[in-house]
Symmetry: C2
Subunit: 410 residues, 2 copies
C-alpha cells in the first residue's frame, strides 16, 4: 500500500518498522532477552546520550568516527549519541555496579551511527548483546559464543558460519618484528587485507634493510610466518598448521602465540561438545571484531549476506581505562538484521471486531477475548466492511437469544 | 554499591537503568504493549532520526525547541532526533500506511529532548503511547482515554487524577472576541495561567475601548464568560455551569461551545460506565496537552508528583499538513516515570549456580531449569561464595548417586 512518490524520504541507512514487522521484532526481542535472562545475564538500559568523554572510553577510532555529537544546551558540554552499547555496559560494570566477582549484563536498544558499519548496515541498529565481566579464561569466551549461537537459533538462523580469530596473534608478531611505525602500519594493513603481493613486497629483504628505515632485518623465521598468515584460515586443522609454523620462532614469542592457539582450541572443544552440528571456521589473520578487542574474536555470517550479522570478542583492555583490572568478553548483533534474515514464522493475534452500540454482555465478551490473547477491536459502527478494513477476520454478532458469538468473515 | 565520587557523571535529565530496574521496565513495557495489541493497536517502530522537515510536521513550537538537530554526513542535510513519537506515527499513518479506514498504532521507544518537559522530567523518556486515526467522534476519544487508564492500572497506578479539557473552548471564544493580535495573546496567556487579576485588567472596558487598539468593545456577555472561565474546573457540574454561562452568547458561538461540552459529556458518560471508581476532573480553561491539540485534551496525575504522568488529546489538524483529512486522537507517557511511581511488585527469576566441570547430566539439568524460567548461571568454579557473589540463591550439587540437585544457599 506504500506509494513511494508521496512518501517522505528517510535518510540513508535509516528505516521504520511497520505492522506486522515491528511486532515480529518485538517478539524476537523478547525471546532473546528471555534467553539471556535464563543464562543469568541481567538487563541494563544505558543512556541514549552521554558526555563525550564518558562515551568514548574504549580505544576505538571506528567508534569515535561513528558517534554523532551534540551540544548540551544545559551544560554547554559536548555529548554523544551512543553508537555502541558494549562500551557503556563496560562503564556500568566497572564504575557503577563495581562488583568484584563475575557480572553478566545484557541489553537491547537502539543506537545511532554517523555511517553504517558496512554497505548493508543500518545507521539506527537495534543492538542486542550480552557481556561477561570478571573472567579471563576461555570458558567465558565459550559461554558467550554459545549464547550468540543460541541467539541466532532464536531468530531461526540455524546454520550460521562462525568465524573465530585471535587479535593477540598479529599483535605479538608485529611487536616481535619491531618495525618502524610506518612500515608496521603497512604490514598490519596488508595482513588485514590478506594482500599477499603487498606482503611479499614489504617483506623482501631489500625493503626491510633499507637504511632510511634505520632498522635491521627481521629474522627469516618471522618473515615466513608473516607470509603464511593470510593462508591460515579454514577448519580446526589451521590451528595445528599454525603451531608447526610457529615452532622455529623464539621461545617467548612462540609461548605467546601458542597461548592464543590453546585458547582457540579450548573454545573449539567446548563449542563442538555443545553444538556438534556447528561448523567452525578459523581465520588467524583477519580481525573481524571491533578495534578494541584484545583476545579471541568471533563473527557470525549467513550465506547471501555479505557482512557479519554478529560480532564479538574479548576486550580486557577495559581494565586500563578504569584503573581497575576487569576482563570482559561479549558480542552484539543488530536485531533488525536478524529479523530480516530470519527464516521462522511469526504468529499474529486473531483480530475480532466488536460492533458499536453493544451491551454489557458484549463488553464482557470482548474483555474475555482480549484476556485470551486475541485482539478485540472496538468498532464505531456495525459494518462488516469496516471490520475487514481494520484487518479483522471475525466479528461479534448478537444471536437471537442475546448472546454474542464470534462469526468468521469471509 | 554505587560510589558517587568515582562515577562518571551523566548529563542532567539523563539516566541509566541498572539491574533489577531495567528488567522491571521491560516487564511493564511488555504488559502494556500486550494490552495495546489486545485492543487492536498495531506496533510500529519509528526512526530515531529523520530529516528535520519530515520530523517537525506538527505545528508545535514546543516540539521544535525540544528537538536536537544533527548534520547528516551522508547528505549534508539537517536531521533531528525524535523528541516525540506521535508526530512520526501520524506521518506513518497518513503517508506510509495510507489506509482509508480506522487505524490504531502504538509504540514504545526512547526519545531525546533538548530540555526536560518539566522540572522533574527526563531528557531521554521511554515513550509508550497509542494513537487512533480516522475517527472524529467522542467514541474514539473515550477509547484512548480508557486505554490510558488501563495503562496506568498495569503500572499499579490505580487511582490517578484524570483531567479533561477542550482546546476548542478558548479558541472559539478568542476568535469571537476578534481582538488585535497582541491583546489576543495577552488574554490567552492570562487564561492559561488562570490569572484573574490580569484578566480583570485586560477585560475592563476602558482598555478594550482604547482607540489605539482600533477596536470596538466586545459584548458584555463574552466578557463575563472570559472572567468566569478560570473558575470552570472541578467535577462534572462544571459542564452544566458552563452551559448556563454560555446561554447569553450569540447562537453560532454558543453552538460551537456546546458541541465541545457535549463531547466532554459523552466521554464522561462512557468513562463513568467503564471505570465507575475513576474520578473525573474538568478544567475548561487550561490547556494540558501539547500545543498541536485541537479538541478534547486529557492528562493524568498522581498525588505527590507535580507534573502530568501522561498527556493526550485530539489533533485533527494533522489532516491539513498532509492535504488529506485524517482525524487523530491518542496519548503518550514516559514508561520510566510510570515505573518510578509504580506501586506493584516485580518478580525476579531464581538464580541457580551450576558449578564448573559438570557432566552431561548437569548440562541437561541446567537446560531444564532455564526452560522453566529460572536463571541457570554457569559457574567457572564450584565455590558457594562465587554463587552468592553472583546473586544466586541456590546451587546445583551432585548427590552420591550422580544426580544433580538444587541446594538452597543460606
Amino acid at each position: 500500500m506504500t506509494t513511494k512518490a508521496t512518501r517522505w524520504l528517510l535518510p540513508d541507512g535509516v528505516d521504520e518498522l511497520l505492522p506486522p514487522f515491528a511486532a515480529h521484532l518485538e517478539q524476537l526481542r523478547r525471546e532473546i532477552l528471555d534467553l539471556y535472562q535464563s543464562w543469568g545475564y541481567e538487563l541494563i538500559k544505558t543512556p541514549l546520550i552521554e558526555f563525550l568523554d564518558s562515551l568514548l572510553i574504549l580505544p576505538s577510532e571506528e567508534l569515535q568516527l561513528s558517534t554523532f555529537t551534540l551540544v548540551d544546551q544545559l551544560s554547554g558540554k559536548s555529548m554523544g549519541v551512543r553508537a555502541d552499547i558494549s562500551s557503556q555496559a563496560a562503564r556500568i560494570d566497572a564504575q557503577v555496579l563495581r562488583r568484584d566477582g563475575i557480572t553478566r549484563l545484557c541489553y537491547a536498544d537502539s543506537a545511532l551511527c554517523t555511517r553504517p558499519r558496512g554497505p548493508l548496515g543500518s545507521r539506527c541498529p537495534h543492538l542486542i548483546g550480552a557481556e561477561l565481566y570478571g573472567h579471563g579464561g576461555s570458558d567465558s569466551d565459550a559461554e558467550v559464543i554459545g549464547l550468540l549461537l543460541r541467539t541466532l537459533h532464536s531468530a531461526g538462523i540455524e546454520q550460521p558460519l562462525l568465524a573465530l580469530g585471535h587479535n593477540q596473534l598479529c599483535q605479538s608478531l608485529l611487536k616481535a618484528a619491531a618495525l618502524p611505525q610506518q612500515l608496521n602500519e603497512k604490514l598490519f594493513s596488508a595482513l588485514q587485507n590478506k594482500a599477499s603481493a603487498d606482503l611479499d613486497l614489504l617483506l623482501n629483504e631489500s625493503s626491510l634493510n633499507d637504511p632510511s628505515l634505520n632498522k635491521s632485518a627481521i629474522p627469516a623465521a618471522l618473515i615466513s610466518v608473516f607470509k603464511a598468515l593470510p593462508t591460515l584460515h579454514g577448519d580446526a586443522s589451521v590451528l595445528k598448521r599454525a603451531r608447526e609454523l610457529f615452532a622455529p620462532l623464539s621461545e617467548q614469542l612462540r609461548g605467546e602465540l601458542n597461548t592464543a592457539l590453546t585458547q582457540l582450541e579450548n573454545i573449539a572443544a567446548q563449542l563442538s561438545a555443545q553444538f556438534p552440528a556447528q561448523a567452525l571456521y578459523f581465520d588467524l589473520c583477519e580481525r573481524r571484531g571491533y578495534d578494541y578487542h584484545t583476545g579471541v574474536i568471533f563473527s557470525a555470517y549467513v550465506s547471501g549476506h555479505g557482512e557479519a550479522i554478529a560480532n564479538g570478542g574479548r576486550y580486557d583492555a577495559i581494565g586500563e581505562i578504569f584503573g581497575r583490572p576487569r576482563a570482559a568478553t561479549g558480542f552484539d548483533a543488530d536485531l533488525k538484521t536478524l529479523l530480516r534474515l530470519s527464516r521462522r514464522d511469526f504468529q499474529r493475534a486473531t483480530r475480532i471486531y466488536a460492533p458499536a452500540g453493544g451491551d454489557a454482555a458484549l463488553a464482557r465478551q470482548v474483555a474475555e477475548l482480549r484476556a485470551q490473547g486475541k485482539a478485540g477491536v472496538q468498532g464505531f459502527d456495525a459494518d462488516p466492511a469496516s471490520a475487514r478494513a481494520q484487518g479483522c477476520s471475525a466479528l461479534l454478532r448478537q444471536a437471537p437469544g442475546g448472546a454474542w458469538q464470534v462469526e468468521t468473515l469471509d
